[in-house]
């Protein structure tokens, strides 16, 4: 059973556009929602994260929007650049989960920003 559903699987956006990647979760115990960014040939790296007590978090050109009632969260990339082309993973975890299986990843979105 997939606990975090991510869409779309792939996305092509023109430079300067605003790609949006969406994730939905089912487990209401989740209380930490990170996004990881992965470039070709590299491992994923933490990009930005949010907790459900806030509805939005911005770090530079990256914004997470969080809708607790809908159990959805999304990543927006403002003024997207070709260097943002990468695979993006959403994830979710819960403190009471204890061990590492408390961090569940979505299936990833392959984003291409065209010049």
């Amino acid at each position: 059973q997939q606990q975090v559903k991510q869409s779309p699987q792939s996305l092509i956006v023109q430079k300067g556009g605003i790609p949006i990647i969406n994730c939905a979760y089912e487990n209401t115990a989740f209380d930490y929602f990170p996004w990881y960014q992965q470039f070709p040939g590299k491992g994923p790296a933490l990009l930005i994260a949010i907790r459900p007590d806030v509805s939005e978090k911005k770090e530079g050109r990256f914004t997470i929007s969080f809708n607790k009632s809908a159990k959805q969260f999304s990543l927006h990339i403002m003024d997207s650049q070709p260097g943002d082309s990468a695979t993006y993973f959403c994830a979710a975890s819960w403190r009471s989960g204890g061990g590492a299986d408390g961090l569940t990843f979505g299936k990833g979105t392959h984003l291409i920003i065209q010049p």
Binding site: G41, K42, G43, P44, A45, L46, G98, A100, L103, K107
Partner: protein
């Protein structure tokens, strides 16, 4: 240099052979993880370890064995490789089990394994 390193970077092996993927981290992180990445499946947790001599199964542990005799090392062994284990394998480490707070999961650059 501090970091997390995986070896080998690429590996080709035959069905039925045993193969071990190595992972070494220099941060003294308590937690270490093995994930596999496959198209259409994203990242799936194979095994994780909360400390030396403590390991536990993740989502897809069948066919894999791990050990952690030292905090810094977490090798992954495929006892009898199968074609379905062709994948990219990532090792990661963190001070916490979920990467919360100021200790996100730090991933290595992966091992691309092909089983023929």
């Amino acid at each position: 240099d501090a970091g997390i390193t995986q070896s080998p970077r690429y590996k080709i092996t035959e069905t039925g052979r045993q193969v071990t993927l190595m992972c070494h981290q220099t941060w003294s992180h308590s937690y270490m993880f093995w994930y596999r990445q496959d198209l259409g499946h994203g990242l799936r947790l194979i095994y994780y370890s909360a400390a030396a001599d403590i390991t536990d199964k993740g989502e897809v542990p069948d066919g894999y064995v791990v050990s952690r005799s030292k905090t810094e090392n977490f090798p992954l062994t495929l006892e009898s490789a199968t074609r379905s284990q062709t994948s990219v394998y990532f090792c990661a480490s963190s001070f916490t089990g979920t990467g919360e707070g100021n200790s996100p999961l730090h991933f290595g650059n992966g091992t691309r394994l092909t089983v023929t």
